[in-house]
């Protein structure tokens, strides 16, 4: 796949990270509750063989499955009708389910939303014995903070929060949060922009100090807060919407942000030197998932799909088609090396174990206070 093609693939689905983070709490906070609540639908009976229905109805982001995989699936399992309805964001999916939308077998929410959906009884618990290909999923993406017992989530693909910088203007090596800290405080004071999102900025000091990004120990938060407040006067601005503009016009040269804009920045010769790296101490990732809906009319076809999509060969095609990192190790081994080397898509192998999903911490008063102080002291 050429760069241009990959760009087009990635462009298909610009993720509004801010949108889903801001509503994370609508569901993420319920993780604990969901863990002890059983959903309305019960697991399918464990019969040894299953009659695959001739229909599968999915509800997904637009252009998020490789068309050729759909064709292969239809032929191999004799599924005549593969329905693919699209939603624009997680809220739309939730709203439709809350409005009583039934008839779908499978949906693709972002992991933060899964606990809330399970709590409301929209999901069924998975029978993992029917998805043997789950064995290929990297341990980082099993038993996540969002679904501690692997009851609902089949991981689909993921992306990271990291550091973007203009290589031309920042000759120093940038590989870690520590270096971002030093450069922001030192040489590039006033030239660093952070995304305006508490959930994405806190992982920076916490991971730099070697703590979990979900750590709420008051002493650890104090340490992290001190780092943020020390940096605040050196930060150019907090900006989630136009940080790529600031990188492009060189108002800022370093950025704590998401991978979305890198496609445009690299495509423009003037800003083609833009790099994205995943900090070596580890960072935050988002995860899109496959879930099985409680009242799925075609559960056997659904299980067939969930297992099928993680066959290494099939998953490789998915990854190269949609341009996001796969959590499937066996498939990753088959992926185009050029794509593997791009940190804007795949974190380096040794960092993957340090990736963490985030729970909703917006209700933690100490974090809120630090964030408010940080914001009030920017620039």
């Amino acid at each position: 796949m050429t760069d241009q093609e990959r760009i087009q693939h990635i462009m298909r689905r610009p993720i509004n990270r801010r949108g889903f983070l801001s509503l994370m709490g609508a569901s993420a906070g319920a993780a604990a509750l969901a863990a002890c609540t059983s959903p309305a639908g019960s697991s399918p009976s464990a019969a040894p063989t299953y009659e695959i229905e001739n229909e599968l109805l999915t509800y997904n982001w637009s252009d998020y499955v490789a068309p050729e995989n759909i064709e292969t699936f239809k032929q191999r399992f004799g599924v005549e009708n593969f329905g693919y309805d699209i939603f624009a964001n997680n809220e739309e999916l939730l709203a439709k389910l809350q409005g009583g939308a039934t008839g779908y077998d499978i949906a693709c929410p972002t992991a933060e939303y899964v606990a809330g959906m399970a709590e409301e009884g929209f999901l069924q618990e998975l029978d993992l014995s029917r998805i043997p290909n789950m064995q290929h999923i990297n341990a980082t993406f099993r038993k996540t903070a969002w679904d501690p017992e692997d009851k609902y989530i089949v991981p689909k693909d993921y992306g990271t929060t990291g550091i973007m910088y203009r290589k031309k203007l920042v000759p120093e090596p940038v590989t870690s949060w520590r270096e971002l800290y030093d450069l922001t405080k030192g040489k590039y004071s006033g030239k660093t922009v952070f995304v305006d999102s508490m959930g994405d900025v806190f992982p920076f000091p916490l991971k730099m100090l070697g703590y979990s990004l979900n750590d709420n120990d008051p002493a650890h938060l104090k340490e992290a807060g001190d780092i943020l407040l020390e940096l605040a006067p050196h930060v150019h601005s907090l900006d989630s919407d136009t940080y790529q503009v600031k990188l492009a016009n060189e108002e800022a040269v370093l950025c704590l942000g998401w991978t979305g804009p890198i496609v445009d920045l690299r495509a423009d010769p003037a800003t083609a030197d833009t790099q994205y790296i995943v900090p070596s101490e580890g960072t935050l990732y988002w995860l899109d998932t496959w879930v099985l809906l409680a009242d799925a009319p075609h559960p056997n076809a659904a299980y067939a799909w969930l297992n099928f999509i993680h066959e290494p060969e099939i998953q490789k095609i998915e990854t190269e088609s949609n341009g996001y990192a796969t959590p499937n190790d066996a498939a990753k081994a088959l992926v185009d090396p050029e794509m593997l080397a791009d940190q804007a898509i795949f974190p380096p192998d040794d960092v993957i174990a340090n990736l963490e999903g985030s729970l909703d911490h917006s209700g933690v008063q100490q974090r809120a206070d630090i964030w408010a102080q940080f914001k009030a002291n920017i620039g």
């Binding site: 305006d196 900006d239 917006s362 209700g363 914001k375």
Partner: protein, 304 residues
């Protein structure tokens, strides 16, 4: 007094003045929509804000009923009084700025524009046809360090000259955004001004400044007061302009409220800040009105 009682009182007053029951009914009917509006979109929401300010944050955000004063005690804990002070300064400076730009403009349109009056008024209104957000983003371009500002920068020979992300950019945005709200009330009062008063003032030996200070300004005062309040109050709560043009570096009460409601989803904390903001505005506006009226009384005394 509830709105319904207000309607009755209003109707009674009119009825007493000589109308029969029919007139009273008509008045009640005509006042009804406004009363409903007032009740449901001002009194009730305000009551909700006050009630919420005594609650606690729900486990997943939002509001859980309770009675605690913590939200008030904690208003200044994280960021202190700075956002309130910044907002007061910004709104005051913005109001003065609107006045400095708006008064000459209104005066010109009302007294000198002649047959082009309508055109000028139209030009003032036209920007309202475009979304506020888009107009603010337009300033983003105007102040872009590589575009218009570059010319100014070259003029002063200062390579670091920049406006975006500074309080000045916020101030420019505020004045631009709220100017029409200042100009219209001023225009209306100045337009009704009896021009012969100016001639009389001149005949009696007052200079230009004296005439302005002793005749024009007192006449324009009601418009000035209305305009000032119309621009001051929304400026106090402004959030979009400091966020866009100030890069969020000028941290105002609006930004603090945004944080509480949308990032922390802590409605009670935000509600408490909102109540305090309303109180600050009430005090400021009351003081302002007292100050203006005091000025007017002493001036009348001096004239006598």
């Amino acid at each position: 007094m509830t709105a319904a009682a207000g309607v009755q009182a209003g109707a009674r007053e009119l009825g007493d003045r000589g109308g029969g029951w029919r007139s009273r009914l008509l008045t009640a009917l005509l006042v009804l929509p406004a009363s409903i509006w007032y009740l449901f979109l001002l009194v009730l929401p305000l009551a909700i804000v006050v009630i919420f300010s005594f609650g606690v944050r729900g486990a997943r955000g939002g509001f859980t009923p309770a009675f605690t004063l913590d939200n008030y005690a904690n208003i200044f804990r994280a960021v202190g009084v700075d956002p309130f002070i910044n907002s007061l300064w910004m709104a005051a400076a913005g109001t003065v700025g609107c006045l400095l730009v708006g008064l000459p403009l209104a005066y010109y349109i009302a007294t000198r524009a002649g047959s082009r009056k309508g055109l000028f008024i139209l030009l003032l209104v036209i920007p309202f046809w475009v979304s506020f957000l888009i107009r603010t983003y337009a300033w983003f371009l105007i102040l872009d360090p590589q575009l218009a500002v570059a010319a100014v920068r070259d003029l002063f020979g200062n390579p670091d000259f920049n406006l975006l992300g500074t309080p000045w950019a916020v101030l420019i945005g505020l004045i631009y955004g709220y100017l029409p709200l200042m100009v219209f009330p001023l225009y209306v009062t100045l337009e009704r001004m009896d021009r012969t008063l100016l001639e009389a003032s001149k005949d009696l030996g007052a200079g230009r400044w004296g005439t302005f200070r002793q005749v024009t300004l007192p006449i324009a005062l009601p418009g000035l007061v209305t305009g000032s309040i119309l621009v001051f109050i929304p400026m106090m709560g402004e959030f979009v302009i400091p966020q866009i043009l100030g890069y969020g570096r000028t941290f105002l009460v609006g930004n603090a409220l945004y944080l509480d409601f949308l990032e922390f989803r802590n409605w009670p904390a935000g509600a408490a800040k909102a109540v305090v903001l309303i109180a600050v505005m009430l005090v400021t506006v009351t003081f302002y009105l007292w100050f203006i009226n005091r000025g007017r009384r002493t001036r009348e005394a001096s004239v006598l």
